[in-house]
Amino acid sequence: MDLTAYKFIGAGLAMLGMIGAGIGLGILFGNFFQGAMRNPSAAKSQQTNLFIGMALTEALGILAFVIAIMILNG
């Protein structure tokens, strides 16, 4: 196989790192919604923390995507 084929396989393998980010985001938002259903008046005050958590978790998934792009383009 030539180099391009290996590059595509490598990029595909690197994207598997986003599985963890997806699961983490699901857990995060699920817990937030569960807490918000039990205590709706306190949900607004925790919205900022929700977005901080979302950004930090998503960033790790985006790092996997960046590595995939770097593999794909030399």
Binding site: T48, F51, I52, A55, A59, F65
Partner: protein, 253 residues
């Protein structure tokens, strides 16, 4: 299939001659990235000038938006940094507005300035240098207590302090890559689905239906990208406030 990476290429629009500064060639020609950033900054200045020109007690629509943005960032600095937060409000507000306007200009015109690693790296370095300088000016050598959380039993410290230092040094890297990755990824996905529309629609009746599905996907992705544009600017501002809080309120660390 069209190349989705072509949208990120820098093209010079006005070629200015390069000159040397201490042996390093500096090229200040106007590229599409520079133009996008100038347009974004101009749009923000114009919006704020127009909406606060005849400021009324009962605000009009533009003034409501401007005051809403102001309140958003002011509440951030106040709740995260605390009483001393007001001093950092101009920096965080400028950062938030610059990233938001560059993202929105990228959604509506031809080029996203924040999809360039150089731009996001500069913003992240500015932020972390501000954090370090503020920390050293406020706490002197006590700044290094940032890497030594209170209430930790002393045998763990030799392991914990290098981990804390590495995690501090990762902050500008993750700031850079978060904004860069979100912008690049979102735009690549949009262009790939847009390519599907053309490729499918020219392939028979079933392909025509597939083209419609791709069009619906592009519309949904565009809405998502507007949300991501606002969210990434907000997250950058929030994380700047959190890092500033770490060094400003060092004793409560």
């Amino acid at each position: 299939m069209a190349d989705p990476l072509h949208q990120f290429q820098i093209q010079k629009i006005v070629e200015l001659p390069a000159f040397e500064v201490a042996g390093i060639p500096v090229d200040l020609s106007i590229t599409n990235s520079v133009l996008a950033m100038m347009f974004a900054v101009g749009a923000v200045i114009l919006f704020f000038a127009l909406s606060t020109a005849r400021a009324a007690i009962i605000p009009g629509r533009g003034q409501v938006m401007a005051e809403g943005l102001f309140k958003l960032v002011d509440d951030l600095t106040d709740s995260i940094i605390g009483h001393d937060g007001r001093a950092f409000f101009p920096f965080v507000f400028t950062l938030f507005l610059f990233i938001l306007s560059c993202n929105l200009v990228g959604m509506t015109t031809y080029f996203t300035a924040t999809s360039q690693l150089a731009v996001t790296l500069t913003l992240a370095l500015l932020t972390i240098l501000t954090v370090i300088v503020v920390g050293v000016l406020r706490n002197g050598l006590g700044f290094f207590k940032l890497f030594c959380p209170s209430g930790v039993p002393w045998p763990i410290l030799p392991i914990l302090i290098p981990i804390e230092i590495i995690s501090f040094l990762m902050r500008p890297i993750t700031l850079t890559l978060r904004l860069f990755g979100n912008m690049v990824g979102g735009h690549i996905v949009m262009k790939v689905f847009a390519g599907f529309i053309i490729a499918l629609a020219s392939a028979g009746v079933l392909g025509y239906l597939g083209g419609f599905v791709s069009l619906a996907a592009v519309v949904a992705l565009t809405a998502l990208e507007f949300l991501v544009a606002y969210l990434q600017a907000f997250v950058f501002a929030v994380l700047t406030c959190v890092y500033l809080n770490d060094v400003v309120n060092l004793h409560d660390h």
